[in-house]
Symmetry: C2
Subunit: 407 residues, 2 copies
C-alpha cells in the first residue's frame, strides 16, 4: 500500500459512481479534481427521465462539500472524447498521479435504443478512453490510470468455470503432439453495444501498456446497488443520484423503487440470469484501494474483479418481494441473452487488500429502501418499463428492406 496522498483526476466525477468516489478520496486526504461534461444530466433531460433523488448542480455539490468538510474539490467542464486539446492541457498542468476514468456512456439498454445511441456510445467511449491513453503517452506522464470496466465483458458462458481476474491460462494441442501454453486476456463476449465498448477498451489498454509502459488498472465491476455512502450522507446537497428508469436503472435499485411506488417488480424472462453485484459504498472503497495500490508491472494491465456477491435476478426479486410485499411480474426479456446462467467469479485481490463486503443479506438495502420511499413522489411511472430491445429484426426472415428504406 502506498500511503502518500495522491493528486487524483476523477474523469466522469459527476456520475453515480464518480461523485461518491471523488468525495471518498477527498475525505481520505487525496487532492481531487473532477472532469465531467455533464452529459449524463443531459441524457436524463433528453429521455425525460430523472434521478429519483434530487441531485444538486455540480457547483452546489462542491460548495456543500467544502462547507461540510473544509475540503476543496476542483471541477473542469470538458468533454474528454471531443475536446482533446483542452483535456491534454489540463493533464499537462495537473500532472496527476492517478486518473480514474468513469467517463463512458454506461447503460446497456440506452446503447441498444437506436442508431444514434449505438453510434454515440461507441464514439464517446472509445474516444474518451483513447484520448486519455494517447494524452498520457504524448505528455510522457507516469500517471496511473484506473478504469471502470464491467463484469459483462466476460460474457455468461455458463460451463461452470470460475471467472478469473482478467487472464486465463489455456492449453492448445499442436499438430505434432506438443501442447502450447499461453496466458491470455479472458476471451470477451459482450452482450450489448455498451459492453462491446468495454471489450474494445481492453484492447486499447493492452496495447498502451505493452507499447508505452503505462500503468493501468482495469476494474471489472459488477452491478452497483445502493445510493448513499458515508460521505454523501453528510449533507442532503451531497446526495448521490438514483437511477430507476428502464435505460439507466440497475436491477436491484429498480426493484426497490418499484416496491416503493406500488409497481410490480419487473423480472425479465424467468429471472434466471445470474449477475455480480456490489454496493456503492464498496465501490468507493475499492477505488481507494486501487488508487493506493498501483500495479508494479508496466507491460501488463492489472485486472481486478470489483464485485462482492452473485445472485439470480429471480432471487433478488424474491428478497425484495419478501421484505416489501410487492408482487413479481415476469415480463418478456428485451435482451438477447441466455434465460438462465450460473456465474462464479474470483474477487480475491480486493479481499486480500482488506475489503470487507457489505452483503445484501446484512439488510443494507434498508438504506436504499428508505431513499426509494422518501422520494417515491418524484418517480415518473412511465419511465419504469424497459423499452429498448436488442433486436428489432431477425436475419434471415427479414422485413423487406424496401419497407425499411421507405420508413
Amino acid at each position: 500500500m502506498d500511503h502518500k496522498m495522491k493528486n487524483v483526476l476523477v474523469v466522469g466525477g459527476d456520475g453515480f459512481c464518480g461523485w461518491p468516489t471523488a468525495l471518498h478520496l477527498s475525505q481520505l486526504g487525496h487532492s481531487v479534481t473532477i472532469v465531467d461534461n455533464l452529459s449524463r444530466r443531459r441524457i436524463d433531460d433528453d429521455l425525460g427521465a430523472n434521478s429519483l433523488t434530487p441531485i444538486q448542480p455540480i457547483d452546489v455539490r462542491i460548495a456543500a462539500w467544502h462547507e461540510a468538510t473544509g475540503k476543496t474539490i476542483g471541477f473542469e467542464h470538458i468533454d474528454v472524447a471531443l475536446e482533446y486539446d483542452r483535456f491534454e492541457a489540463l493533464l499537462a498542468a495537473l500532472k496527476p498521479d492517478t486518473v480514474i476514468h468513469f467517463a463512458e456512456q454506461r447503460a446497456a439498454p440506452y446503447s441498444m435504443k437506436g442508431i444514434s445511441e449505438k453510434r454515440y456510445t461507441v464514439d464517446n467511449n472509445i474516444g474518451a478512453t483513447h484520448n486519455l491513453l494517447a494524452a498520457i503517452t504524448n505528455l510522457n506522464l507516469d500517471t496511473h490510470i484506473v478504469h471502470l470496466g464491467t463484469m459483462g465483458v466476460y460474457g455468461y458462458d455458463d460451463d461452470g468455470m470460475e471467472i478469473p481476474e482478467g487472464y486465463l491460462k489455456v492449453y492448445i494441442p499442436g499438430d505434432e503432439k506438443q501442447i502450447f501454453q499461453r496466458e491470455i486476456l479472458y476471451p470477451t463476449n459482450p452482450g450489448s453495444v455498451y459492453h462491446m465498448t468495454k471489450s474494445m477498451d481492453q484492447i486499447l489498454f493492452q496495447f498502451y501498456a505493452k507499447n508505452d509502459h503505462l500503468r493501468i488498472t482495469d476494474l471489472h465491476q459488477g452491478i452497483v446497488w445502493g445510493t448513499q455512502t458515508e460521505e454523501t450522507k453528510l449533507d442532503d446537497r451531497l446526495m448521490n443520484r438514483f437511477d430507476y428508469d428502464g435505460d439507466y436503472g440497475t436491477v436491484l435499485n429498480r426493484f426497490l423503487m418499484q416496491s416503493a411506488v406500488g409497481h410490480p417488480l419487473t423480472v425479465h424472462g424467468t429471472g434466471g440470469q445470474t449477475r455480480a453485484f456490489i454496493h456503492i459504498q464498496d465501490t468507493v472503497k475499492c477505488l481507494a484501494l486501487a488508487v493506493e495500490n498501483p500495479p508494479q508491472e508496466r507491460n501488463k494491465v492489472k485486472i481486478l474483479n470489483q464485485m462482492t456477491e452473485t445472485h439470480t435476478v429471480r432471487h433478488l426479486a424474491g428478497l425484495v418481494a419478501d421484505a416489501t410485499g410487492a408482487p413479481v411480474a415476469n415480463v418478456e426479456n428485451p435482451r438477447n441473452e441466455a434465460a438462465e446462467n450460473g456465474l462464479r467469479v474470483s474477487n480475491e485481490t480486493f479481499i486480500s487488500l482488506g475489503l470487507q463486503p457489505i452483503t445484501l443479506a446484512q439488510g443494507l438495502c434498508e438504506e436504499t429502501q428508505q431513499i426509494a420511499q422518501r422520494f417515491a413522489d418524484r418517480c415518473r411511472m412511465d419511465m419504469i418499463p424497459c423499452v429498448s430491445t436488442w433486436t428489432d429484426n431477425q436475419r434471415p426472415g427479414l422485413v423487406p428492406s424496401s419497407a425499411v428504406a421507405a420508413a
Copy 2:
C-alpha cells in the same frame, strides 16, 4: 460457390487493394460502386509523398475502365466515418448484396507518427467499421460484409504454434480437476495503433454477428506486394498505386524501389522478422472468392487468412539483392517488436476454394521491378527512410514531464 452476379459496394475502392478489386469484380460481371473519401491521396499530399506510379484521378480511372471494357463503375465521394447519413442513404438506395470494406488508415508507421495520427487512425477506422455495421443493421439489409483485416492482429508469439483461421480451440483446467473446452477468437496481440484498430474491429464484428445475425467475412491479409493486376494493365490510366515511402511503403515493394533508384535495401534490425505475404493479383482473386462464397453461418464471423507465403525480411532483402546487385543496409528498428520470430499460418480455406498462389520464387517480382525502374525518376529519395518511431520515451526513466508540458 454462388454464381449469381452481385451488387457490390467497394468502400475504399480508390486505394491500393480496393481499386484493382473493383476492376476485377467489374470484369467478372458484378455490378460495382466505389465509395471513397480520397483521404489516402490527401495524406500523400500532407506527407509530401506520392505513389511511385502516376495514378489518375478517380473519374479519369473510371472513364478509362469504361473505354477499355464497356463496363461502368459507380463512384460516390463519402467519408464513411464522418458522413453517416449520406452513407446510410446510399446503402438504402443500393441495397448491395456485398459491401467490401477497405476504408481504413492502413499504415502502421503512420499510425505511430504522433498524437494526431494515432487519434485519426482510431477515429477513422473504428468509425468506418461501426458505421457500416450499424447502418446495415438499422436498414435491416441482408448484406454480406467482407472486411480486410491483417495478419498483424495475431501478433508474433513465436512458440511454434500454427496460426489458425481466426479461432482457437483451447483447454482450461478447472479448480476441481475438470477440463473446460472453448473455441475462442485467437487472442489478439497488435503491434501498432493501426493493428490495434483491426483487433477492435474484430470485437465489433463478433458482436454484430452474434446480436444481429449479420453475415461477415473477415480476411486477415498478409503484406501485399506487386502493383499491377490483369485489369490494371489494360490501360496506363488504370495503373495501380505503388507506395514506397517510410510510412505507407510495404517491405518488398520498398526493396524493389530502393534497388531501382540505387538506395541500399533498408533492413530493420537483423531482418529476422518473419511476415506473411500475398501478391496483389492474388488479393483480388481472394476478394472475388470471398464475395462469391458468403458464410452460411450468421452468428459467427467467418475468418480467413489471406496470405500465400511467409518469409523473413532478411530473406527478402537477400532475394532482391541477388536479383539486382543492390547492397543491404541494416538500420535501427524503429518498431517495438521481436528481433526474430518464426511464423506458421494456415490458409487452407482459400486454397480449398481453388486459389493458386503466385509465389515470389516464380520470378513475378519482375513486373514490380519493371514498374520500379520505369518510374524511378518519380521517387523522392528523402521519403524513403522510416521516421515514425514506436516509442519516443520509455517508462520508467521518463523525461521530466515539465519539459514536455513546456514544449
